[in-house]
Symmetry: C2
């Protein structure tokens, strides 16, 4: 991947959803939150081929149902409206009615068919949207002039996130530069509920909705689906991508000679956003990355990596800078996929702490120092069961996680 | 169950592994731990039909392999030797050799065939047993006179558990009193590893090893397998039962008229021990019980119950006495079994907080007070998908969990 990344796929520092040609975005404060921006829109100048993935929660929130209906109608979007503070989840008939009404108001505002509008929400579960405020937002929102700002959109979608999250990559397709940009928000806790992960991706690539759906699914599997803050899945999780074709490439599909590069670029963008979310996990002080190689299959490697990065015992050990490889063994040990303990090597940073099923002598202090100093702690596991490789990302488990989630109301 | 429990199955306060006829036990300090007892034996005066269940971890510790071999040889045990402090897990060939040698030393000491001895360990992963100390223990251990003590055995198997765990039930079989006793230890963290759950059960029932195995498996499924402290499974988890037949009942099997009562009694004993382990989870201040009814199947109910009780967000909410039903919805939402949000009711204590997929008005303060005051918090979920019922137990997630697991070395 590193060769491709260097030569064909380029990360663009400071880029985001407005980097691809033909997109606008804005955000404003409508009063769902006390002071911060809480309402935003991404807008494409022309109808864009679109795709999305949704939470697998049985309790899918109302906006996700409306968005599914919009994309399902013809695979085209031209605007996405997002609010923070209220998730509009577990709100029954009223919630669905409110999501439809929000969609209609944005469609009217931008003179679009309703089916060209997607709706997303994040925040409190079990509370209804204050529709007077939503109405005000829909009539005041603008994506022109000074209002056109990726930053204000990025801010509008946050809940208890501590930083904005954005990313941008460029990739050569048919000799033209195709740009992909993204904004995301991660786990934040707002009474009385759980976090929500939202991702919004724009690109000027020419690609049809079904092909884009397939590319998004592939990208999600190795990125957003491989992060965990606390093993929870929200009612509102969703990632949406809009592709407006302004780059002028020949339509992408699996037979296009540059298909692999596009997939690589989209996957890289998703991975970058996902890592930003993991790093900003509640109470986190570190990004934790687990790499597994030599597994029975790619799927097995990914399961094992996620099991390790999601283990509360591994997460607390990392917070405590304690090179407790026994906990890594423990987490791997109860993964559902087969693995052979006798051919298992474990590295913390560059140090081998366990090899061929046997503890290794290692410098505890230097490994502990590594865990203490690095903001990005890497655990590598090498099996000898096959050629499967996979990675997963998470964060440490700290006092602040308990504080944020147990006592944020007092 | 309540009728059976009252009339046929009786909990015996203060009873334990020595309550059934014909068993002895002892524990002593051999120096694996600084001061506390760390070596114990359960002994049956006559060969006992035996059964056991083992961790599903891929990294099964050496003693479990030796115990499987012993029970596999003929289904008979007469002694179980246990040490705490060192788990003898991930110790390769040497570990296996040490476990065999421990078995042999106890067999010699009590003049038994080696296959009549089971071995169990709990403690540090990746360290070898100090065999000079084990040898001393095997030659000094006694189960006669003052040395015969359930209490000293219960103490010898603990690691960072804060309390001893024991239970006893009586059940009428063929008009005779059959007694079942047990001792257990729960999750405790010792460098550099994770907790271990061990359970030891004695009974004077007459029952063959294969039938006992089946009864144990049934009992485990609704007890030890339904508790979670942090979602981890250890290398050393094991529950062993010995039945010496001294009660003089006709051999139990599924056709015996009192079979149901025996199964009920064994399940009740296991549930009692399992709840003691959950309550004593690391840093825990409360036992949390989740009851699910009306699920698609028993298995579905059990999965949903365990998902809720294992959710970090639910656990922190309980610690914070925060009636955050949104987190319960979230945890249920990503269980792998089907469920219908629109017919879901949730109760915290006696208070209904969510009904038919809609938030309910409820007295937040009284629910919060309930969560704050009760040492045993009950969450009930009622679905309308079928007749499946299931329960699971866990504990709250507290600052002390992070403290114990992140900074216990400093």
């Amino acid at each position: 991947m590193s060769v491709i990344e260097k030569k064909t796929v380029l990360k663009v520092d400071g880029g985001g959803i407005l980097s691809p040609a033909g997109f606008k975005a804005g955000g404003l404060h409508i009063g769902l939150r006390y002071e911060k921006k809480d309402f935003g829109v991404v807008y494409s100048e022309t109808p864009a081929q679109s795709a999305a993935v949704y939470t697998k929660s049985h309790f899918q929130a109302a906006p996700l149902k409306v968005t599914q209906e919009s994309i399902g109608a013809g695979g085209i979007l031209q605007a996405i409206v997002v609010n923070s503070a209220i998730a509009n989840a577990c709100t029954g008939e009223q919630g669905l009615k409110d999501a439809y009404e929000t969609r209609k108001m944005i469609a009217d505002r931008f003179r679009l068919p309703e089916a060209y509008v997607a709706v997303a929400s994040t925040g409190v579960i079990g509370e209804c949207l204050q529709m007077d405020k939503m109405k005000k937002g829909c009539s005041e929102i603008s994506v022109h002039g000074d209002y056109n700002s990726a930053k204000s959109f990025q801010q509008a979608i946050l809940t208890t996130d501590t930083v904005e999250k954005s990313s941008c990559v460029e990739v050569m397709i048919d000799g033209r530069t195709v740009t992909i940009g993204g904004a995301a928000k991660g786990s934040g806790m707002i009474h009385p509920n759980m976090g929500t992960m939202l991702g919004f991706i724009t690109t000027d690539a020419a690609i049809s909705s079904p092909v884009l759906q397939s590319a998004l699914k592939t990208a999600i599997n190795t990125s957003f689906n491989q992060i965990t803050v606390d093993g929870e899945t929200s009612t509102n999780d969703m990632v949406i991508v809009m592709a407006n074709g302004k780059a002028g490439n020949k339509p992408l599909n699996e037979n296009h000679p540059d298909w692999g590069h596009f997939q690589e670029a989209l996957s890289l963008l998703c991975e970058d956003l996902a890592k930003q979310i993991a790093r900003d996990g509640e109470g986190a002080t570190k990004l934790v990355e687990v790499e597994v190689e030599g597994a029975h299959s790619t799927a097995a490697a990914m399961v094992i990596a996620k099991k390790i990065v999601g283990s509360s015992l591994v997460k607390t050990a990392i917070y405590g800078a304690d090179p407790n490889w026994g906990r890594i063994v423990g987490a791997m040990g109860h993964s559902e996929v087969p693995l052979s303990p006798l051919t298992c090597d474990i590295y913390i940073g560059e140090e081998c702490v366990f090899s061929n099923g046997t503890p290794q002598l290692f410098n505890e202090k230097s490994v502990s120092d590594y865990m203490k100093k690095e903001e990005h702690v890497v655990i590598k596991v090498s099996l000898q069961d096959g050629t499967g490789e996979g990675r997963a990302w998470g964060c440490d488990l700290t006092y602040d996680y308990v504080k944020i989630n147990a006592s944020y109301r007092t």
